[in-house]
């Protein structure tokens, strides 16, 4: 306590306190009291050091208040205008312009030998400072790391496009089916005719694959005709909804088709 009072160079409080401590020490006969005295001595010496420090700077009379005033002047403060601000703690009646610190900064840059910050001219990928650093670090993971990173990226991409392609194919096939039925609503299409590609077995298999999606999603159905051969027809949207919810029947048909048969 009373630290500030003791620090005041004009006061002898510290000396007085030390003298009193000396006096009190004569009456000390218990270890605890001696410990307290030692503690006091430490604090006193710290304060003494601070006082000495303050003494040094006072010698050259630096007036920080005046300095602050001069800084504000430099920053362009307008002391004549009274501005309504919401700064309750503020000294009212003086207006500091918004570019005050920019002005100060301009002046300040003359006093620093600061390295300008480095930025890529063309920008980095996402124009954020961390990105260039990562780029460098990745380079250093010689070859191997990079190859591994490249591969998962590639695979992922393929997978994605694959999925899209499938969906597109399915849609395409649905449209073909629907168009066909529009033209000729009463003739169902033979399943085999629909999926067969006379030129490519692989393509045929793909077609079957895509059609299966249509079936799964309830957009088309396969029935057996009089000859026990499967036929396919699109489901009209209205129809489909009711049927599905009521019956919920799903049949599995396993059709085997190998290359020989296909031929």
């Amino acid at each position: 306590e009373n630290r500030e009072a003791m620090l005041n160079s004009k006061s002898n409080r510290l000396t007085e306190a030390l003298e009193e401590a000396n006096r009190l020490f004569d009456g000390v006969c218990r270890a605890r009291e001696a410990a307290l005295d030692a503690q006091f001595l430490v604090i006193a010496s710290n304060i003494g050091k601070e006082k000495a420090n303050e003494l040094h700077s006072e010698m050259s009379a630096f007036d920080s208040t005046a300095f602050a005033e001069d800084l504000l002047t430099f920053m362009g403060i307008n002391r004549t205008e009274v501005e309504e601000t919401d700064d309750s703690e503020d000294v009212p009646g003086a207006f500091l312009p918004s570019d005050a610190w920019r002005t100060m900064g301009e002046e300040a840059s003359k006093y620093f030998r600061r390295a300008p910050t480095f930025h890529y001219m063309m920008g980095s990928f996402k124009s954020e400072p961390p990105a260039p650093k990562q780029r460098i670090e990745r380079q250093k993971k010689a070859g191997r790391g990079k190859a591994e990173q490249a591969m998962p990226a590639q695979l992922k991409k393929m997978e994605e496009s694959h999925q899209e392609a499938t969906e597109k194919e399915v849609e395409r096939i649905l449209r073909i089916l629907q168009t066909h039925f529009e033209n000729d609503p009463n003739t169902p299409i033979s399943f085999f005719d629909f999926v067969m590609d006379p030129n490519s077995f692989a393509r045929t298999v793909e077609n079957v694959f895509h059609v299966s999606f249509l079936i799964r999603d309830g957009l088309a159905k396969i029935k057996l005709d009089e000859d026990e051969l499967p036929i396919i027809e699109p489901i009209k949207p209205s129809e489909g909804g009711e049927e599905d919810s009521r019956a919920g029947v799903r049949n599995q048909v396993v059709i085997s088709l190998d290359q020989r048969e296909w031929k």
Binding site: N46, N53, S60, S64, F67, G105, E107, A108, F118, K140
Partner: protein, 201 residues
């Protein structure tokens, strides 16, 4: 290796946080450890010749480096961004205060002074935002300022001094000249600070 190190240093310097030798070794130099000092020397030469920058070790024990500008300060408008400039303005004011007050100030004294400039630790500043954070964290991390706890104070108080980056990027003489300019006085007006600044060259 050298050009990689140069790039590494330039990028690391963006945030003005000092660069540790350990990081340089781990990221760039790796297997060429033995040639470390040679690589660093060449990198410094490149930095100086190509960019006018200098690699300076500010902590010889823990081997920490910063980049500073080697070129003479040009007059006239600089192209740097406003935010950086404004922070430098605040920093210069703080450094001046610290120097003129004998190279070390208590945090309470510093904030009392900044109060006069409408900068408050508890209040969001229109330019600097969280000023307390800027001063006690950012400037300290960048080594512009150094803060130490004052022993046996409760609640704990801190004192501020110039950090090693400040020592390298500016000088007591420059700062005294700044103060003199602001107060329209001759630097010799403050005798002890003036002699200290001269001795420090």
């Amino acid at each position: 290796q050298v050009s990689e190190l140069v790039q590494f240093l330039l990028v690391k310097d963006q945030k003005k946080i000092p660069i540790k030798r350990a990081d340089m070794l781990k990221n760039i130099i790796r297997e060429y450890r033995d040639a470390y000092s040679e690589i660093v020397k060449r990198a410094d030469r490149t930095l100086q010749a190509v960019f006018g920058l200098q690699l300076v070790e500010i902590d010889t024990k823990r081997h920490i480096y910063i980049l500073i500008n080697n070129l003479p300060r040009p007059e006239g408008q600089h192209l740097c961004r406003d935010k950086e400039k404004e922070k430098m303005g605040l920093l210069l004011v703080i450094l001046s205060f610290i120097f003129m007050k004998g190279n070390s100030v208590k945090d309470s004294a510093l904030w009392e002074f900044l109060h006069l400039l409408r900068v408050y630790p508890g209040k969001q500043h229109s330019v600097f935002g969280d000023v307390r954070k800027l001063v006690t964290e950012e400037f300290v991390r960048q080594k512009y300022l150094e803060t130490t706890a004052i022993p046996l104070t409760d609640p704990p108080e801190f004192k501020y001094q110039w950090g090693p980056r400040a020592e390298k990027e500016t000088s007591k003489k420059d700062v005294l000249n700044f103060v003199a300019k602001m107060q329209s006085k001759d630097p010799t007006f403050w005798a002890s600070q003036y002699s200290e600044a001269e001795a420090n060259k």
